[in-house]
């Protein structure tokens, strides 16, 4: 009897996995949990990436400064590299300040990454332990948040930014939020 039980283990393990997959299918990893939309940004203050330029940034930077964008990135994340030119383009358009949240990264690697690919950010902050990212509800890197003038999270994109998303969703939302501010 005990021997039989032993042979059932692989099946049991697989069935547990299958349940996870089934639940995973019902969730689109690209959709923001509604709980965080229209909530104020969490209180935080991030130091700059060690050895890098700037003073870091905090929740104060995201309030009363028009629409702002927080882009979560890490040097070890391959999709971040893919989306980086688009983040740079977004920053060049000058429609909103783009802040970089460097997630669980080594300062040396992060700085090298920025030197290599260009640094489009108004300022960046190092979240070495990932604490702030958790408060932001970060699923995985990269992620991009749009925050309105009052410091409220209004939109979130999970995964690498695409040209299509940028044109069809991100830019129109920024425009709409900008108008809402009466600017």
């Amino acid at each position: 009897m005990q021997r039989r039980f032993f042979y059932l283990v692989p099946l049991a393990v697989f069935l547990v996995m299958a349940i996870y997959f089934a639940v995973g299918l019902t969730k689109d990893p690209k959709i923001l949990p509604s709980a965080l939309i229209d909530k104020p940004v969490p209180d935080f203050a991030l130091p700059p990436i060690e050895g890098g330029p700037g003073k870091g940034f905090s929740s104060a930077n995201l309030k009363g400064d028009g629409v702002t964008i927080v882009n979560v990135f890490a040097s070890w994340c391959v999709p971040c590299r893919v989306e980086h030119p688009l983040i740079a383009r977004l920053a060049e358009l000058n429609v909103a300040k783009v802040y970089g949240l460097n997630y669980k990264d080594k300062p040396k690697d992060a700085l090298r990454w920025l030197a290599e690919l260009g640094d489009p950010y108004t300022a960046h902050g190092a979240d070495t332990k990932g604490r702030v990212a958790i408060d932001f509800g970060v699923y995985g890197v990269p992620e991009t948040f749009i925050i309105d003038n009052t410091g409220t999270i209004r939109y979130k994109h999970v995964g690498p930014m695409t040209a299509d998303k940028l044109e069809r969703e991100v830019l129109p939302i920024i425009k709409k939020l900008d108008k809402g501010n009466g600017q």
């Binding site: 021997r3 299918l25 391959v78 999709p79 090298r112 290599e116 990212a133 890197v141």
Partner: protein, 663 residues
């Protein structure tokens, strides 16, 4: 017309597969030879039909038929011929068609060349193959039809993702799929054996060539993908622990374990249940890879366009195939009786250790890949798992395995003594220490892992040679006698020796490339020089040019060392006309000790300087070379006499039987 022919051929293939999955199986159960015999023509016809279907899709691409959705989305008239062909499988629907083509190819190979298989086993194997095929045909026809037409055809197509317009990547998917799908043979044999309730040495020997072939293809496919990332993504890295890379690496780990455990079944008639389980797991992981890439549950740069309906279908398919086979396993495997008994310190014990470590490594990679998904499903913290996790789990697992790898082949079957074996490995020990000292003297401040890696590589390399020397009794008998023994060494043994030597070389390469990469990023004006790892790179400016469907900025570097010219490097930056997407083409000059690697970036309009990135990647050529040796080892083993002459003699099985009575 062509699209419709392809579509109908696929539907016919589904129907034939449906017959093939039932009739021979029932025939085998009832011992009805005629019913069993249906498997052969069915498998051959199925392959013919899928080949027609695949040919049709290829023709649609070659003739740029923009009334077909798939062609619109992935092709363009200006695309070079080779990428029109590669475009066939560089998308979700087409790659599935390639998948079933290869599945049908393997099935027809069993049908055509499996004359020495017992008829019942052959019928069951082909039935199981057809069941898998039915699942995939249905998936294609219901959710992913590559032949879908559009009502109003556009003038031209949207072109293929430029990153994929590359020779290495054109042949990468077919290789990878030959590997993935090749493991379906081991799976079908395992299921057939479970139904029959019998696993013996003969069974192991029939499965082995299929597993070996699949392993060779998968190894080649993985390394091609890695090589592509190395020269095309342009930042000198070659492995990123991306979910899709993991998806190909997990079956490789399990498949490697399977290769080793099937040896034990063949030679010693034990570890049967475990080997069957490994065969199921290896193919399950291949299927899981397909699920992860296509269902959209995980985000990856490689992900094909995802669609919830497809995800549900794939999940159902996984539950039927994997769940069904594991249920069959739970029901039937307990009745598989192993007769061989062995002590922990023995060849079997060493192979089992290899298996446990490989399986643990595969499980760790699986956990790391699925962890974000699982945590999300239970509503937990949001996490992401990156290379820090994989490196800190995977590397410590591999260290003891490589250390044991030099010892294992020298242990006797059944029961061995560790002391004399370790004593014989003195040369390997000295080599490891010398290599570590040499590396440490060369780069005192380098990472410790690099030093350990090179030391282990030397240990494994020399240890494998010591084993070979022992086998041919080098210096123990006259040289002529040794040479005669060398010539008579079976190719399967050569496969082991070469495979382990290849891995040693690969590990040395990985350690070098991982630990001592030097890079230099700067803005350079023409005429300026930077020095990286003792090489002087002089930037000779950049010129604009035009390719078939892209524009080029091509930089030129003259590389010298101590004033002697070494190489000219011409990295390119391309912008594809249709998609406006840029790609980098790194220029690489390989030398024995490392690669000179240069990338040219954007021009700064104000100063006229170009951003350039220059790397020295030590020992990278060793890494690719080592993997090639491993693939060569697999092929060598595949040509072993006992595979070529086919049916194993009953004598051998009988010969091993009496031994098993002892202890």
């Amino acid at each position: 017309m062509t699209a419709e022919i392809g579509h109908f051929a696929l539907i016919l293939a589904l129907m034939i597969a449906a017959v093939q999955s039932v009739v021979p199986l029932v025939g085998a159960h009832r011992d009805n030879a005629e019913w069993m015999a249906i498997a052969r023509p069915a498998a051959l016809t199925q392959f013919g039909l899928v080949a027609i279907s695949f040919g049709c899709l290829t023709q649609l691409y070659l003739s740029s038929d923009f009334s077909v959705l798939n062609v619109i989305q992935n092709s363009h008239t200006t695309k070079p011929m080779i990428y029109k062909i590669a475009g066939v499988w560089a998308n979700h629907e087409g790659s599935l068609l390639l998948w079933v083509l290869i599945l049908a190819l393997f099935g027809s190979a069993v049908a055509a060349f499996g004359a020495n298989l017992p008829p019942a086993l052959k019928a069951r194997v082909l039935s199981v193959q057809a069941m898998i095929a039915v699942g995939f045909y249905l998936f294609m026809l219901l959710t992913s039809n590559p032949f879908e037409r559009v009502e109003v055809p556009p003038i031209n197509g949207q072109d293929l993702n430029p990153l994929l317009q590359d020779f290495g990547l054109a042949i990468h998917p077919p290789m990878l799929y030959l590997g993935y799908v090749g493991f379906s043979m081991a799976f079908s044999f395992a299921i057939a054996a479970l139904i029959e309730g019998r696993v013996d040495a003969a069974w192991a020997r029939w499965v082995r060539p299929w597993t070996l072939a699949a392993w060779c293809f998968l190894t080649g496919g993985i390394v091609l993908g890695s090589w592509w990332a190395y020269y095309e993504l342009g930042w000198g890295g070659w492995w990123f622990w991306d979910p899709v890379e993991n998806a190909s690496f997990m079956p490789w780990l399990a498949g490697t374990a399977l290769l080793h455990s099937s040896t034990v079944v063949e030679k010693r008639d034990t570890l049967k249940g475990w080997t069957i389980l490994l065969a199921i797991i290896t193919f399950s992981l291949s299927l899981l890879g397909t699920f992860l890439v296509r269902s959209g549950v995980l985000t990856s740069v490689h992900t094909f366009a995802s669609d919830p309906a497809r995800g549900v279908f794939i999940l159902a398919l996984l539950i039927v195939v994997i769940g069904g086979s594991l249920a069959l396993y739970a029901w039937r495997a307990p009745s598989l009786v192993s007769t061989g008994v062995f002590q922990p310190i023995s060849r079997e014990g060493a192979l089992l250790l290899n298996n446990l470590i490989m399986a643990t490594a595969a499980a760790a990679v699986l956990l790391g890949t699925l962890y974000p998904l699982m945590l999300d499903a239970v509503g937990g913290d949001k996490v992401s798992v990156g290379p820090p996790f994989f490196n800190s789990v995977f590397i410590p697992l591999m260290l003891p395995m490589i250390a044991a790898m030099a010892i294992g082949p020298m242990l006797a079957w059944k029961r061995a003594d560790l002391k004399p074996v370790l004593a014989r490995l003195w040369a390997a020990m000295i080599a490891a220490v010398l290599a570590m000292l040499a590396v440490w003297a060369w780069a005192t401040d380098g990472p410790v892992m690099g030093v350990i890696g090179v030391g282990l590589a030397a240990w494994l390399f020399v240890g494998t040679l010591v084993e070979l020397a022992g086998r041919i009794r080098l210096f123990k008998v006259p040289a002529r006698e040794s040479l005669r023994r060398l010539a008579r060494t079976p190719r399967a043994s050569w496969g082991m020796t070469l495979g382990h030597l290849g891995l040693a070389i690969t590990i040395a390469g990985m350690s070098g490339a991982g630990a001592w990469q030097t890079e230099s990023v700067q803005a350079m004006k023409p005429g300026e020089t930077v020095t990286v790892a003792g090489y002087d790179f002089t930037f000779d400016g950049a010129k604009d040019g035009q390719g078939p469907n892209y524009s080029i900025v091509r930089g030129t570097f003259l590389v010298t060392k101590n004033g002697q010219p070494v190489a000219t490097l011409d990295p390119e930056k391309r912008v594809y006309t249709v998609t406006k997407r840029p790609t980098t083409e790194a220029a690489i000059h390989s030398t024995f000790w490392g690669d000179l690697y240069a990338v040219v970036g954007d021009k700064d309009k104000a100063t006229g300087a170009y951003v350039t990135r220059i790397y020295f990647n030590p020992l990278v050529a060793w890494m690719w070379g080592g993997v090639l040796v491993m693939v060569g080892a697999g092929i060598t083993s595949l040509t072993d006499r006992r595979h070529r002459i086919g049916a194993p003699a009953g004598r051998r099985v009988a010969g091993t039987a009496p031994e098993t009575v002892k202890t």
